[in-house]
Amino acid sequence: MLENHAKLMQFFSSTDEIVGRKKLQKMIYILKKCEIPFEERYQFHFYGPYSEELTLRVEEMCNLGFISETKEEKKNYYQYRYQLTDSGRNFLTHYEMDLPPLNVHIEEMNGRSSRFLELVSTMLFFEHLPKEEIAEKVFTVKSAQNYTQEDIDEGWKFIEHLRSIH
């Protein structure tokens, strides 16, 4: 029951908090691309890979009291902060998860901006293409973000680093 929710709770249990839904979306996608078996389905959207399933599961976990969501008013928008609750921790004790430790991955990603994670997840979305085509595709579909070749190079280094973490 709720195995996919439990995997997400395991993710939240590996960090103090996740700030921002956009960041959360990109982090789970990047972890999927690092062979972590999350099952949320992603599609490409205006701001890069996005999973409606993930949004709904997070909403369900909030309603069930497994994670807490704090809404914070920013200048022109709202931002959301997520933490695993005691109920969530208790729920997790009933599961034997086969996920590898995620704390180092999460720490690395938490230290990066959501703009950078948007770039990395977009690069990973086009990973099936040759490398030079990926850069071209990123410049085309993300023209508003004005990413540079240096950003892309940094993105590849980051991906390589994440994938080398065991």
Partner: protein, 431 residues
């Protein structure tokens, strides 16, 4: 005349219960409709298992695809002299609208879940592979199939084009809400689409709606919300979906255990092993699936046979409300009790959640999370819909989710009243 510009000698029309008529003038569109891959959509129901709840819901993805095409055709007609709109993109938009659901398989949501497939991948494969559709698109120009594939994949460079087919207020949703309402016979799902089309404006990278059209958009959002809870997440439909998913799981499990099926499930073998080719994928439509279910009703395996009988004869599971947090201990006890009662809990004790559904309702979200609906104000500024509409704010602010526990009540009732196991199960389930 170039193939892309060729017109039919006279306009063809399809009678349509939702849009009255679907108009076709382009040779390319007419040829695409005639392809085997597009005709296959006639054999895939738009609403999957909903026909077991709403008997009218027998409409197909073919109907819906034509509807989306027609809506996009009308939008473009309104856009043609407006700034930000490039009329050169017209044919691309029409093709993408028509073909956006091409990769859907039978009961696709359950199939995708069990066999870990994605219909979007098959849409791409049909557009770019050795298919009739690809041949027609390739005649337009080299690289045209890829352009159509990119629009449908939402990775095309012109985001305005993408947003016509896929956004929070797109042709896809506007068609299926109205069509599903019509065929299910429910009274929700209606909104003034003509009004919305009149107030849509093309911007550089998205479609927006003039602020004066806000009330028509509110109606659309309301209908989306009501259809979500009243039709798409109907608990009886979900029961059928649960059983369907379990049939597929069981058949796969039996195959992996080397079970000897009375009728070799030839059409399923590549799905069981995980890598169906495009040809195999296209060969499996709903008629084929239902044929196997009919046959499996007589299988020796009691679980497979029982589940198939339930699906075919509509003997669905009953449901109760369930809270996975406060009822976790009860669930664990039920799991043991069901095993004791000879009911495999992996197949007969199922929690279904609202996140298992491939539909959603409108949420404005966080900045940079997902593009919301923008209203164009008289001073040319854009504002997110829920910031201006109290109705939308109140719906989208409400986080409604749902979990239900599905069980074969008839099997429990058949147990002896003296059985302690039965007594305890009933106590937990019904108090």
């Amino acid at each position: 005349m170039a193939y892309r510009d060729e017109k039919l000698s006279e306009e063809k029309v399809f009678k349509d219960p939702v849009h009255r008529y679907v108009h076709v003038r382009e040779r390319v569109i007419w040829d695409l409709i005639g392809t085997a891959e597009f005709q296959r959509l006639r054999r895939i129901k738009q609403l999957g298992t909903s026909y077991l709840t709403f008997h009218g819901a027998e409409h197909s993805r073919f109907n819906h695809s034509l509807g989306v095409y027609e809506i996009v055709r009308r939008i473009i007609e309104n856009f043609k002299d407006r700034p930000n709109w490039n009329q050169e993109e017209r044919l691309l938009c029409l093709c993408a609208a028509l073909l956006h659901d091409l990769g859907h398989g039978p009961f696709s949501h359950s199939f995708e879940k069990v066999f870990k497939l994605d219909h979007e991948d098959f849409t791409q494969a049909i557009l770019l592979g050795d298919t009739e559709v690809n041949k027609v698109l390739s005649k337009v120009e080299k690289g045209f199939p890829k352009k159509v594939a990119d629009v449908i994949n939402k990775t095309y460079e012109n985001k305005l084009v993408v947003s016509l087919i896929s956004s929070q207020i797109d042709a896809d949703r506007m068609d299926y809400l109205q069509r599903d309402a019509y065929f299910t016979g429910v009274s929700y799902g209606h909104f003034d689409m003509e009004r919305i089309l009149r107030v849509m404006r093309p911007m550089e990278d998205q479609v927006v709606v003039k602020e004066s059209g806000m009330h028509a958009v509110e109606d659309y959002i309301m209908s989306r919300y009501q259809m979500y809870w009243q039709v798409y997440f109907h608990p009886v439909t979900r029961s059928a979906e649960v059983i369907l998913t379990k049939i597929l799981h069981r058949a796969k499990e039996l195959y992996e255990e080397g079970y000897n099926f009375e009728l070799k499930p030839v059409h399923f073998l590549s799905f069981f092993s995980g890598e169906p080719t495009l040809e195999e994928y296209l060969a499996l439509d709903e008629a084929v699936v239902l044929y196997y279910f009919q046959t499996w009703m007589k299988e020796e395996d009691a679980v497979l046979s029982d589940l198939c009988q339930r699906f075919v004869n509509r003997k669905l599971f009953k449901y109760i409300e369930f809270n996975p947090n406060s009822q976790m201990n009860e669930w664990m006890e039920l799991y043991k009790l069901f095993t004791k009662a000879g009911l495999n809990p992996d197949y007969y004790l199922v929690v279904d959640s609202s996140s298992d559904l491939p539909y959603d309702f409108y949420r404005p979200g966080e900045e940079g999370e997902r593009l919301p609906i923008h209203l164009l104000q008289p001073n040319d500024e854009l504002k997110e819909l829920s910031r201006l509409s109290d109705i939308v704010e109140s719906i989208s602010g409400k986080k409604r989710t749902d979990h239900k526990l599905y069980i074969p009540l008839d099997r429990l009732e058949e147990m002896s009243n003296r059985s302690k196991t039965k007594k305890r199960i009933m106590e937990i389930l019904f108090g």
